[in-house]
Symmetry: C3
Subunit: 201 residues, 3 copies
Amino acid sequence: MFYLVIDILGTVAFAISGVLVAMEKKLDVFGVFIIAFVTAVGGGTLRDLLIGNTPVGWMKAPIYIFTILITVIVAILFVHQLKHFRKSLFLFDTIGIGLYTMIGIEKGLLAELTPIICIALGTMTASFGGVIRDILCNEIPVIFRKEIYATVCILGGIIYFVLIQFPIDGTIAYIAGILSIIAMRLLAVKFKISLPNIYRS
Amino acid sequence: MFYLVIDILGTVAFAISGVLVAMEKKLDVFGVFIIAFVTAVGGGTLRDLLIGNTPVGWMKAPIYIFTILITVIVAILFVHQLKHFRKSLFLFDTIGIGLYTMIGIEKGLLAELTPIICIALGTMTASFGGVIRDILCNEIPVIFRKEIYATVCILGGIIYFVLIQFPIDGTIAYIAGILSIIAMRLLAVKFKISLPNIYRS
Amino acid sequence: MFYLVIDILGTVAFAISGVLVAMEKKLDVFGVFIIAFVTAVGGGTLRDLLIGNTPVGWMKAPIYIFTILITVIVAILFVHQLKHFRKSLFLFDTIGIGLYTMIGIEKGLLAELTPIICIALGTMTASFGGVIRDILCNEIPVIFRKEIYATVCILGGIIYFVLIQFPIDGTIAYIAGILSIIAMRLLAVKFKISLPNIYRS
């Protein structure tokens, strides 16, 4: 139940980020909805396709489609008020990527995949909705250019796999993974930490 | 047999729309063929992947690959004459989206998915070939910007699911779904109906 | 073992081509790695998804992820020296597309698909990593515009299917397919052979 609430809040935050990018591109209502939808569920969909978990997640749980539909309607109607909620949305988004990373890792473990692949699946779950959003809006994905977003998911995944080597409860390691991602992202944004620049010369 | 003829005509119309977009981008012969191919089969392929119907449809029925190959050759040779067939092509295209929407809905029902997901799959079957075409040609998909195309598929899907609540024959509801999509699209284009503008301010 | 060496050399060459395109777009380290990764494994991943071979190939063999990771690090550190290896890289790349085409055809045969679909899968394996690379970098795929790359894979596939009609050993036909692709590509590049121009008027 607690996870479901976080999941829905994360879905709302991801969908709103899709609405904002789509409206900047002046898409019509249908376009805005599709962009919001792929931003929210695209990462998990790609993960499910690669693992072979079909029909993919959102097809079996229509709650996501309804959540996104309502989010899009509300976001379009109150788009000028959205900036007042920027901090809340950033927080939901951050909590969302923490949870989604761990959900992706868990699905990888269920499919008996190795840790490195599980971490890749977790990172994908949390960040590839945004990649598909940017591709559909004809932009080079922002997480390939500047946001220290995926790196945080990878580090959180590594922390989780290190923790479960020790005799601690699985749920605690799971929650520690989520919290470490949230903490690292907040710190990275606060202190403007970015990946090392590889274009020195 | 009757459905197969419509299916082939729709495939031809979709493939030609791919050829035209690809030639505007000055792609080479291989590029034109691939764009025509994804325009024609991309929507159904995405649907099959999401449901888990693999190998996907066109891999089990080479008739599509041959139809598209011949269409591309003829379309390239007679590209300057294509404008004389614009009305026929628009008609085939419209009949195609009616049929493809219902084919997608049917595949969703076979996979025991809920009506809203079935309608999403039908709309995807009819319209996401064009989305993939536009992405490969480095454009924001036209159906996200102006064409009232997907909306018509959604409405046709709703009509179908309303009809099957009543004690009428399944085939009649199926054909009514197709015809309602065709009628709505023709009316929408004739009266230049578009989605409400969300960029008032 | 011999095939594995070729496979790894091809993976390195493909990954480096991804690094070069990504660095031209000034992507950050994470972006460069993802582009290198999809360039190297994207074609095979798409093939596995369409056939239904999931989890897809690279998820079951982490050697690819490690090979690409090391390649990316070395390529970024020595990017200015890479031009001295252009000829070797072109050779690895060419050997790679020969092998990948035949691997794709073999996977198609295992799934009991018809020759034309097998050839499509082989061509996809060898060339669609580059398509996904270009899409993620917001470019129209280069193989749709000028490179005589996919055509060579298709011809090599046809040669293979002609050969296995005769009473010759399967392995010989397989190697003949690879060698014919390598030879045709080298000739095409040396003599600047391109597809016929369809934009005469």
